[in-house]
């Protein structure tokens, strides 16, 4: 008995200490993450509208009505029409913007292969490639707004000069028009993130490939292209998979900042993404319930995309 007492005492102190250390983070976690997550779910079953957030709140329980409004359809003059056609349009915009993902990934891989050589000055190039990622803020969006200027922007100038070289009367593109704003956003964000996180991840993956594999391929007389498809590509497939999953997850939540700076989600909603629609519902129109409902729908999408990726993408991946 006498031997056990100090031991249990020590244990008590340890537990007390553990909780004490955990406390600040735990409070923050509860107040700013866990509680809001459940409140958000709860709110999506309510209509909570009003310009002022007065107390008591102007809340009424509507059951699944928000979700029906979001995902449902109704018959109108013989045709089937979505209850919220805007939502489907913006969902389409969000998915359209993801077309850029494979290009961005291929670009990041090419840059990583270029940098994966022990040459003089390679760090300088890595720094330059990383630079746009570092600058990515509203500043970059403003810069691209100016680059996309129809009359005086450098891209249209370049197109006109190119046209002059081949005697074509090219006039350039209205980059921020309804047809072009989504490709414009893809180009701008690809430029921004090309040499960033994904490139570094690929670089790390390339550096982890054992040299022996290439030596064996050399002995077999493989060409560079053969070496890429037979050695490099399978060895980096887990990284490719990881980047793809993260890009899709990011893609569902993306597009807000460029859309806000370029055209405030316009013209005519052409650049409004899911995230932007949540922002509008919440911040502009104060439809708190509907915004929460949208956010939860986005969560389900992300969860689903992750599951599909893990379920089917796993077959394409070579794990050693």
């Amino acid at each position: 008995m006498k031997q056990k007492k100090p031991h249990t005492n020590k244990k008590k102190i340890e537990v007390l200490f553990a909780y004490l250390f955990l406390l600040p983070n735990l409070i923050g976690f509860l107040v700013f993450t866990l509680l809001p997550v459940f409140t958000s779910l709860l709110l999506s079953f309510f209509e909570y509208q009003g310009l002022s957030l007065s107390w008591p709140p102007n809340v009424s329980f509507v059951g699944l009505e928000n979700f029906i409004e979001l995902l449902g359809f109704h018959r109108e003059a013989g045709a089937i029409i979505a209850n919220d056609p805007l939502f489907w349009k913006y969902l389409w915009n969000t998915i359209f913007l993801m077309v850029g993902i494979p290009f961005a990934m291929a670009g990041a891989l090419i840059l990583a292969i270029l940098l994966n050589k022990k040459q003089k000055g390679i760090v300088v190039f890595r720094t330059i490639f990383f630079l746009p990622t570092m600058c990515q803020t509203v500043a970059v969006a403003l810069l691209w707004l100016w680059i996309y200027n129809y009359d005086y922007g450098i891209i249209n100038t370049f197109i006109r000069n190119l046209g002059d070289l081949f005697n074509l009367n090219l006039e350039g593109v209205h980059w921020l028009s309804a047809e072009w704003i989504k490709p414009s956003m893809i180009i701008a964000s690809t430029w921004t993130y090309l040499g960033g996180t994904n490139m570094i991840l690929y670089l790390a993956a390339l550096q982890n490939i054992p040299k022996e594999l290439y030596e064996a391929a050399d002995i077999d007389g493989a060409s560079n292209l053969q070496k890429f498809w037979a050695v490099t590509w399978p060895m980096i497939s887990p990284t490719t998979f990881f980047i793809a999953v993260m890009s899709v997850i990011g893609g569902f939540q993306g597009g807000f900042m460029f859309a806000y700076i370029f055209a405030k989600g316009g013209p005519h909603g052409a650049s409004t993404t899911l995230m932007y629609y949540i922002f509008d519902n919440f911040f502009t129109w104060h439809n708190f319930g509907y915004a929460c409902c949208l956010a939860w729908f986005m969560f389900v999408l992300i969860f689903g995309a992750t599951l599909i990726n893990w379920r089917y993408g796993g077959k394409l991946v070579h794990y050693t």
Binding site: Q119, F129, L131, L142, I154, F299
Partner: protein, 398 residues
Amino acid sequence: MSDNKVDLSKIKVLNRKKPGEKVSVGYYILLTLVACFMIVPLLWMISTSLKNPADVFVYPPKWIPDYNYIIEDGNKVEVNVINEVYEIKYISGALKGTKSTVPKGNIDVEWRRWWTPWDKVNLVNTSKNKKFPRWDEVEILSGVATLDILFVKDGVTNFRTKEVSVDKVFKGVRPVWKNYSKVIEVMPFLRFYWNSFIVSVLITFGQVLTSAMAAYSFSRLNFPGRDKLFLGYLATMMIPYAVVLVPVYILMNWLNWVDTFRALIIPGMFSAYGTFMLRQFFMTIPVDLEDAAKIDGCNFLRIFWNIILPLSKPALATLTVFTLLGSWMSFMWPLIVTNSVSMKTLPVGLAYFQDTGFGTQYELLMAGAFMAIIPLVIMFVFTQRFFVEGIKMQGLKG
């Protein structure tokens, strides 16, 4: 032992002779091209930020901000070209080889395309499309220009008109630094800076501290419910930010924190991801060190402070750098919780700057944008290593 040594040296020789390490000139050209693609937009930002407002909307665009001058009595004198008569020779296009004399108003002399060398070639619009002209190259043989001459002597500015021959007018390079001071004048830009600075620093301090303490608890101490709680942390990492946005805003409103530093800072001070990352790192530190310290009578606080923290400097630095960057760039949350101009952070301030009538004054917008990215670029140059390591750590997670 000796066998090992022989093997090692052989491998090194093999590596050095590996054909894959040889690179061609083409490789460097490709690298340089990509680097240009990355850097040209940034140079365009700097170029625009240093232009006269009158030079921003010119076609074709100028890359170097410039002015005209002549030399009089050995002094540079700034001039404005009003009217010129040139004798010109066409060196390309349909009129190739012919000469003619044309006043400036008729031929719209532009003195260069944006990629041709300075002053070598002049261009004449030969297409009917006024807005998007097609240029023929001409060579200026001689000419006389009537010039508005701007004298600046002893602080007094004088104008007079004078005829000067064209070959005596020079182009000088002059960046308009005034744009930067003007941005600070028309916008409380320094205030935005200060807000961004204080918000990012406090968020980072709070997040690193609370994450490290929680991570220590999760990785080193035993308490009931530890693993379940940690699982809860992990589960929330996948939930998108949008889900918590509305309730946290309502909470801020309820606490009357909207439009204060508290709303900008406090919700950002806690991070499940930071806790997770540090916990993973702490797990790799050998427990033996602590056991030795415990025998010496160290308490948990001292173990945390004197052993765990010093040993995890790289992980702490990585988290610090990432959090600083993330909070410096954060856009949506500051946009939502700030109303008054004096509370805006740099990104929100820039967007506000664009919205309040300066949206077409690109020289000012670009000056502001450049000022906003400078601290990030400086920070990056000094902390590059941590970025690279941090990103690799993220990759290992998956």
